[in-house]
């Protein structure tokens, strides 16, 4: 973890230095990422026969892709481990079985040698089928290992030609296997079916889909995605919630991920010491086609099953995520002896419903943040320190002051009169 902290710091420092236009001394290797935690990107390029079509700015799709790759390779941040994979590059024949296994590693994921990578890209010529599913599986293997963020950028000009393996389901399974893996897709001169398929792949992993009609757009988008991979982000920790409070895993402050199946409850447990406040938020991502109405419920429950506080959210329509949160300040212990922390159970349920024909396993990705912080001071008045404000307040004060002055004056006159008569 410490290595990853250092790396993130280093990566940020590196970016800051570059942005400031400072020449980075060669010796400043402190921020040099270790292979374990460097962000990894695998560019997956479709080299199927259709890439020959000359419809991007007058040139062929392949030419546009090559140009984009050259520019992206030049601009790739140093800390990014970049690899290139092709699909449909080698087998020109008609045998579907062979054509659908045609995916090859063009440049391995690792420290980037720009010249070598460019030379490899230059050799490509449009050839075969479009086996998107197998290519994604192989790309996921390329990126295996390490704890940094991982990103697959898929550039294709046609839908998958290797049914029945649905690339969308493949993407979902890949995302379920590892943490922090995102697939971004780009469609070259797409048609409706391709748009649907590529955006389905992207949504399955929290990635983005882009249609490309011009070469510039392709270059810009791919460099944007590679840069995005280089940004330091907090990597969540995988956990597995239980189906009852008693068996729930204990969590401390941090960011966690889990999977929640349809209709499944997820329970976690957090120890909240007296005088501290528990803050928890949960978001459940819709990584597949779901019914248009959905919701999520997060409840904080005592060990005895009494609900303390809940957060709930419901929504309707297109969404990537539905999220809610809660806070629970644990009261100060009145007694010195009772300084023990309270175990608070967190229950997460969501009411997403899968569309007909959509696979329901693995569950939907769930992200949970837990913070145990100092508790707030209690408020004993609605207004700040019980102070007032406004013209009514002034009016009342002036009136009361005036009346008090009058009464005081009359009283003292009366006292003078009494004293005189005596």
């Amino acid at each position: 973890m410490i290595i990853s902290k250092r790396f993130a710091a280093g990566a940020g420092a590196l970016l800051a230095a570059l942005a400031a236009g400072l020449a980075l001394p060669a010796g400043a290797a402190a921020g040099e990422p270790t292979g374990e935690d460097a962000p990894k990107v695998d560019l997956v390029l479709d080299v199927s026969g259709s890439m020959r079509t000359r419809d991007i700015d007058g040139g062929s799709r392949m030419a546009a892709a090559k140009r984009a790759f050259n520019e992206v390779l030049d601009a790739t941040p140093d800390e990014v481990r970049l690899g290139i994979r092709t699909l449909g590059a080698d087998y020109p024949g008609d045998d579907k079985k062979r054509g659908c296994q045609d995916t090859a590693r063009l440049y391995p994921v690792g420290p980037l040698d720009r010249t070598e990578a460019k030379a490899a890209v230059a050799t490509l010529a449009p050839t075969g089928w479009t086996p998107i599913g197998p290519a994604l599986l192989a790309a996921a293997d390329d990126l295996d290992g390490g704890t940094g963020s991982r990103r697959i950028v898929l550039i294709s000009d046609g839908e998958d030609t290797c049914a029945p393996l649905d690339p969308c389901e493949v993407a979902r399974e890949i995302a379920a296997k590892g943490i922090g893996l995102t697939i971004d897709t780009l469609g070259l001169v797409p048609n409706a079916k391709m748009r649907q398929q590529l955006s389905c792949i992207a949504e399955a992993t929290g990635g983005t889909y882009t249609s490309v009609e011009h070469a510039d757009e392709l270059t810009d988008r791919v460099s944007q995605l590679v840069d995005r991979a280089a940004e330091p982000v907090v990597t969540p920790v995988a956990t597995e919630g239980a189906d009852t409070c008693a068996k729930a895993p204990e969590l401390t402050s941090g960011l966690f991920t889990d999977r929640a199946e349809f209709g499944q409850q997820r329970w976690y447990r957090v120890q909240v010491p007296p005088g501290k406040e528990l803050r928890a938020s949960v978001s459940v991502s819709a990584d597949r086609a779901v019914a248009p109405s959905y919701g999520v419920l997060l409840r904080a429950v005592t060990g005895h099953g009494r609900e303390i506080v809940r957060g709930e959210a419901a929504g309707d329509g297109r969404t990537d995520v539905v999220s809610t949160g809660l806070r629970y300040p644990e009261a100060e212990a009145g007694d010195e002896d009772e300084e023990t922390a309270e175990a608070v159970c967190l229950q997460v349920t969501h009411s997403f419903a899968a569309r007909a024909g959509v696979k329901t396993t693995p569950g939907l990705p769930l992200e949970l943040t837990v913070d145990v912080v100092d508790g707030p001071s209690d408020a004993d008045d609605v207004a700040s320190f019980g102070l007032g404000r406004g013209w009514w307040l002034l009016g009342v004060l002036v009136l009361v002051g005036f009346l008090a002055g009058l009464v005081w004056g009359w009283v003292s006159r009366w006292r003078v009169a009494v004293w005189r008569t005596n």
């Binding site: 940020g12 990537d320 707030p376 102070l387």
Partner: protein, 258 residues
């Protein structure tokens, strides 16, 4: 608290000679002097912006774009988003949502949060005026509290033919100072910033920005002025009332020499 934090950071810096410039590692937009030119794609990767900054991003129709900004007690933030659409497109419905640091959706008081762009229009403008940020609320309430706010901009209604088309987005958050009218008693020990309990200085954090002059301690409000002014006026009115009962000068009935 702040001093302790700063001292801690300084100590850490000294100790971290091996990782130079660790303190500069925050992905703060001000580090490079300019406004951010891209957006995040989830709560976790949201791009941090300051209030008053004009953040831009290029994306595709169908992307979920996320930004986050800090809002402090007494502010009423207004989120404005403009989406630049390509020359040809079908009708698209865009929406801006605001979430607080606990990822709870925050209601917009005013503003066109959702808008449909007719085919051929070049841009859509969205706005969301949040409720005033309070210093404290009961745990069961959904009131806006000082801390992080997330902005999510996305297209909610889009035909498949328009998916993935390039769009430009622009977001700006400004806030109005609502003064003591919204001042409540109590305060949070720590602002509602995600990951605040696990925050260290040399790590990528979920949220790393503070308001310009730090999080307010919450004890000051113009209610002090109102109340004090009220007290002074009340005292003056009291003297006035008293004087009225005495008449002007020496009472006539009092014999000379008293």
């Amino acid at each position: 608290m702040r001093i302790a934090r700063v001292l801690g950071a300084a100590a850490l810096l000294l100790g971290l000679a091996a990782a130079p410039a660790a303190a500069d590692s925050s992905p703060s937009p001000s580090a490079d002097g300019g406004a951010p030119t891209q957006a995040g794609t989830s709560f976790r990767t949201a791009t941090e912006i300051e209030q008053g900054q004009r953040a831009t991003a290029s994306g595709s129709a169908g992307d979920y774009l996320y930004w986050s900004f800090p809002a402090d007690t007494g502010q009423r933030p207004t989120v404005k988003a403009t989406v630049k659409l390509p020359d040809t497109h079908a009708a698209q419905t865009w929406q801006v949502d605001v979430y607080d640091g606990l990822r709870r959706r925050q209601a917009c008081q005013y503003g066109a949060q959702t808008r449909t762009a007719a085919p051929g229009t070049s841009s859509v403008e969205l706005a969301c005026v949040l409720r005033t940020v309070r210093a404290w609320a009961e745990p069961w309430a959904n009131d806006p509290l000082p801390g992080t706010y997330y902005v999510r901009l996305t297209v909610t209604g889009v035909p498949t033919s328009d998916l993935g088309l390039p769009v430009g987005a622009e977001v700006r958050v400004d806030s109005k100072d609502m003064g003591g009218a919204a001042a409540v008693d109590g305060s949070l020990a720590q602002p509602l910033v995600p990951g605040v309990a696990m925050k260290t200085d040399d790590e990528a954090a979920l949220f790393d920005l503070d308001p310009d002059d730090g999080w307010s301690s919450g004890w000051w409000s113009d209610r002090w002025v109102w109340t004090a002014a009220g007290a002074v006026l009340a005292a003056l009115a009291g003297i006035g009332g008293y004087a009225l009962t005495r008449g002007s000068g020496r009472p006539r009935q009092v014999p000379p020499g008293m």
